[in-house]
Symmetry: C2
Subunit: 342 residues, 2 copies
Amino acid sequence: MDSLAALQQLVPELEDFLERRYTLLKVIRNLAPVGRRQLATQVGSSERIIRAELDLLRDQGLVVTSSVGVSLSPQGELVLSSLQSMVREFHDLEYLEQTLAQALGVGRMIIVPGDADVDPGGKRDLALATVRFLQDTLRDGDILAVTGGTTLSKVAESFPAPEFTGRVTVVPVRGGLGEDVKIQANSIAARFAEGLGGSYRLLHAPEDVLPCYVEQILSEPRIRDVIALGRRANVLLHGIGTAEEMAKRRGFDEEIIMKLIAEGAVGEAFGCYFDARGNIVYNTTSIGLRLEDLEKIPLVVTVGGGRSKAWAVMSVLSRGYCDVCITDEGVARRLMTLKEIR
Amino acid sequence: MDSLAALQQLVPELEDFLERRYTLLKVIRNLAPVGRRQLATQVGSSERIIRAELDLLRDQGLVVTSSVGVSLSPQGELVLSSLQSMVREFHDLEYLEQTLAQALGVGRMIIVPGDADVDPGGKRDLALATVRFLQDTLRDGDILAVTGGTTLSKVAESFPAPEFTGRVTVVPVRGGLGEDVKIQANSIAARFAEGLGGSYRLLHAPEDVLPCYVEQILSEPRIRDVIALGRRANVLLHGIGTAEEMAKRRGFDEEIIMKLIAEGAVGEAFGCYFDARGNIVYNTTSIGLRLEDLEKIPLVVTVGGGRSKAWAVMSVLSRGYCDVCITDEGVARRLMTLKEIR
DNA sequence: CCCCGTCGGGACAATTTTGATCCCGGAGCA
DNA sequence: TGCTCCGGGATCAAAATTGTCCCGACGGGG
């Protein structure tokens, strides 16, 4: 019997303590410096109880308080990172990873604790996990293809000080979409290249075009070259969108959105809308990588978190081309119930 | 940073919980089946608090209650044994072992949690650790020399069902002393042989004799042979007595006892009384192994626990012939202060 | 320069949890 | 058959936890 399991059985209240303080430390790290009241609303607890916890954490030397609020001490950072594996164990994340990888036919699942829908810090953890995975995976000379979206944008912001000396070429494989420059594949590619210490290309094209113009755009040499480079990528990193959200971002009419949903569309990737089983419900004529291109890419990595994306994740993974899926506990637990496991 | 250390820092109350429940489980194991009130007096806590703990332990499935009292469930046994290493870590026993081994010039220290003076179960743990050590150490054909005393008697009682198939010869190396048959070296040798699955010899001689009779007794062939066999032992296991206790057991006059103590005698072994530095203060003319014989024995193992024996342990270890010392936390912590470490 | 929001810390009553102590019916034992 | 010890229930006082204010201080923005 594992001694940690034994401890858990002998001291069941440990889980509550660990959970509470661990999330508190995480929130403090995300918002530091921060005050009691703000913390209380963040973690959904009363001010007084937060105060008690803070007093204890201060006595333990894990946080420091100043007139502007409370922050993590170096010791606190250390404890937080040391406890990651233990929290994973308490949440049974290894079990979730293996079970879901098998159930969904994905090569590998990486699940981070938390839920991006509930905890604002969740997206950050997801992004950090993705960065870590990329740094462990990418090798000199690799070509990394990236898409757009808020999730990947968050990843792009999460690279630590550039120390990675690899020479990676980052290629955007989606055109421009919407108004926010930060979530464009081009911007993301640039920040990835900066963070990874490599170079990047730009895809000067819109995401959606009328079918009759596709030919014309693709005949543009610069665009064609970049797309061709994307097809030769070693690694593809792409986000997952809910069908509704992506439809809105594309500026679809209410009517069409309703029709999509009525037909069962729940997820979107590369301009295709999928139902829960992974069938294509609707297909836009989009510039960039196509679904069929994915089979030639050796390593396809999918990122997405927040329980509201559970259906979308399931639909996209059901297509079967995904090698690695990085998501969070919120999605994972909902997937377990959707797949009727246990 | 070790994740257990991090956990301890983030959840400091864990130590209290663990300590309380662990000792409670241990006491239950020792006394099962046992009632609340008896438990309360044993662990020095109130009845009500014991009740609360028992309710929780029952919910966790670690104990079972019947009309005759509460006992450990199989699950409880499992948890107890799984948690041993963690308790050792919480008490820093590894650190104590290494530090004291170095400070006292002993090859190896083995320290079990608890204090035999306070916790009645402490002696049992000490005995079990000794048994385990012997089973791990003894090989076919070894000669094991044993002395008498309450501690070794407890060890003798703690052998599990005989499964060890080695052929060990157990030799008593002390004569008869006092009235209690159970603590005689002869009885102990017999039970050791039974527990280890070997044979034993008997030493038919008193412990203390007048000097003029020593020659005569040693001329007896059976006695001489057994003593000679003891001198050739591979392993010697001997207990440690406080000077006062051993003097009383020998039936010394109050006057002589006072004189011994005045001269600084604190420990006794093999008929010699030592002061704190290991100097011989008084020497009885005793039958059996002599102090000078110990140097020829490859492995000398010393056992003794209960903080009242700390001085005795220190004095005996100061002689320098001890290879392995098995003791408990009560002694170890007092030794740390006596040696002025930290 | 001052105002305003938020900060940490102090104070205090309300509430919940905890602790000590009986009591009772029942099971084993002599 | 009486006696002792068992678990479980009940009660009440003490202690802790918790919710809610208030205060002076600091800092950023108007």
